[in-house]
């Protein structure tokens, strides 16, 4: 059921959204922004669901990916699409500095990662020659025209970030269904049980951290070329950690597409409804919504929808059986 909902959601995103919203730059831009959060939310959920690591430091990967890609395209003329991938690699490399934190568990790991994120923000501010310092980088190259399609438009950007998120979901899906995925899933609540049968838990955590950092870095790199501007307080902002966490938990971080659903729902409702109702402090309502979701359905929105479908299907079958 989960995979069917994921396929349905992607179908709507690929066909429905461009068809109905393609001409409206404001709305398509909002959906693209929601997908940027969705991308980070998927990467965060991958680390949390497979391996049981709760990170408060994904802003570091987002920022490193963004700056890597921006500097490569501006100073070295690297093509933008290549730079997006290298941005992911840069974020993965930055995560190597965080490896010692993998020895920690629970809140200690989360706080250590948060500290690393702050360190990266300070480094980006101080490395003026490379990053432009607190003043930031202006005129970062836009997404290019490729195969006759201008990806520098709002709709083009939307297609690119949708493809990035789809690739992330496919990667997540295949990791999860592999024997590595089984072991990682089990490590979430029973690490000792996996270690004692030979699972190299630390090695698998390292791999997951590298993958999650790569994904987040690639999304950060995309964002740099989408908005054409970067400065440390923005690129390493806690928003890139908090919003994806809220989205992932709201949508169902232990499901495949729950984080995407959560990001779309949370961001779009916030921007289109709550922001109009309460221009200052509208994020407060998100906090209330998240608390409500955790109380009513701790596993998130997607499991609620899945249960509704399953129950309806069961009711239909029961009805057919009674008629027969």
């Amino acid at each position: 059921m989960n995979i069917k909902i994921s396929a349905l959601m992607l179908g709507v995103m690929y066909l429905g959204v461009p068809f109905f919203l393609g001409d409206n730059d404001y709305l398509i831009g909002l959906v693209a922004s929601a997908l940027i959060i969705a991308g980070v939310a998927v990467a965060w959920a991958l680390l949390g669901n497979l391996g049981g690591m709760v990170s408060f430091g994904h802003a570091a990967f987002f920022g490193v990916g963004a700056y890597t890609s921006a500097v490569l395209t501006m100073d070295y003329g690297v093509p933008v699409f290549v730079a997006l991938v290298v941005g992911g690699v840069g974020a993965s490399l930055s995560s190597i500095f965080m490896m010692p934190a993998l020895r920690l568990r629970g809140p200690y790991f989360a706080l250590a990662i948060l500290a690393y994120a702050e360190i990266f923000k300070i480094l980006a501010t101080e490395a003026t020659g490379l990053t432009g310092g607190a003043g930031g980088l202006l005129s970062i190259p836009s997404l290019p025209v490729f195969a006759g399609v201008d990806f520098g438009t709002k709709l083009g950007g939307y297609i690119v970030i949708l493809n990035i998120v789809t690739l992330m979901l496919i990667t997540y899906y295949f990791i999860r269904r592999s024997s590595y995925g089984l072991a990682l899933k089990a490590m979430h609540d029973s690490e000792l049980a996996t270690r004692i049968v030979g699972v190299p838990a630390t090695y698998l955590k390292v791999v997951m951290l590298l993958v999650s950092a790569f994904m987040t870095g690639a999304v950060g790199a995309f964002n740099a070329h989408y908005i054409n501007f970067l400065e440390p307080d923005y690129a390493f902002s806690g928003t890139w950690t908090v919003f994806p966490i809220v989205a992932a938990i709201f949508g169902g971080y232990r499901t495949l597409s729950g984080p995407v659903l959560g990001a779309l729902f949370i961001y779009l409702v916030d921007q289109l409804v709550f922001k109009n109702l309460i221009p200052q402090g509208h994020q407060l309502i998100l906090g209330v919504m998240l608390a409500g979701m955790i109380i009513l359905s701790p596993s998130g929105l997607l499991p609620v929808i899945t249960n509704l479908f399953t129950r309806k299907k069961a009711d239909n079958k029961r009805g057919e059986a009674q008629h027969a």
């Binding site: 089984l182 049980a193 049968v197």
Partner: protein, 239 residues
């Protein structure tokens, strides 16, 4: 096969193991007995790699296992169970064994026939698709502990109070299952057990612990007549 020499473990000021030495021969079943807190489970924890010793050496089939990770020790052929069963949460019984085979076997190959055979041997085949953490009774959870260890294809199986908490009939059936497994897979075993009848029934030799020290090592019947061993349990010397 397994040689433990002068093993010591300190937890802060507590000396959990002091100069402990014992050996296990191929196809032998060794019982570790002694009062609670004597150091039996700590010995298992050192052998399996969950506790780092303060001093001493442990060799298994020529490997200096204290220099090896938990993962490597499993691939050397050392399997263990826990007194409180540790199923892998969110996985079915079969998936628990798939993970154990995939990561515990040196070649990393998953063989479904082998998994079925193991589940059959511990009377758990009918629960193969059940959720390991929520749908098993105590006896079945204990059986899963043994099955997971077997899936790694061990040559030495360490059983930590695997019969504890079971009622008499289940205990007898489980003991027979363990004997069958030993024969079928030609295993050496180390068994921690409080029940003297079980020890007499299963073990070729016993090592008795008290206050972190080995106080006796030998034939089960003779050892349980040793005055020092009796004193360690009762505080009295037999007449």
């Amino acid at each position: 096969m397994l040689k433990v020499e002068n093993l010591s473990v300190n937890f802060g000021g507590v000396r959990a193991l002091q100069d402990v030495s014992f050996e296990v021969q191929t196809h032998e079943v060794l019982g570790l007995v002694g009062p609670n807190g004597a150091g039996k489970t700590t010995s298992f924890n050192v052998l399996s790699g969950t506790v780092r010793p303060t001093a001493g050496s442990v060799t298994y089939e020529g490997h200096d296992i204290l220099k090896s990770s938990m993962h490597q020790r499993v691939t050397f052929g050392i399997g263990r169970t826990f007194q409180i069963p540790q199923p892998m949460h969110e996985l079915s019984v079969r998936e628990n064994l798939i993970v154990a085979q995939r990561f515990g076997r040196p070649d990393g190959k998953v063989k479904q026939e082998r998994i079925d055979e193991i589940l059959e041997s511990v009377n758990l085949l009918h629960k193969a698709e059940a959720d390991a953490a929520t749908e098993l009774a105590l006896t079945e959870r204990k059986a899963l502990e043994v099955a997971k260890a077997l899936a790694t294809e061990p040559t030495l199986l360490m059983l930590d109070e695997v019969l504890a908490g079971l009622e008499t009939t289940s205990k007898k059936l489980f003991m027979q299952t363990l004997k069958n497994i030993r024969e079928k897979y030609s295993l050496s075993m180390i068994v921690i057990e409080h029940d003297i009848e079980t020890i007499m029934n299963m073990c070729d030799r016993v090592v008795v612990f008290n206050f972190g020290k080995v106080i006796a090592d030998g034939d089960p019947e003779e050892t349980f007549r040793n005055p020092e061993v009796v004193r360690s349990y009762t505080g009295e010397v037999p007449a």
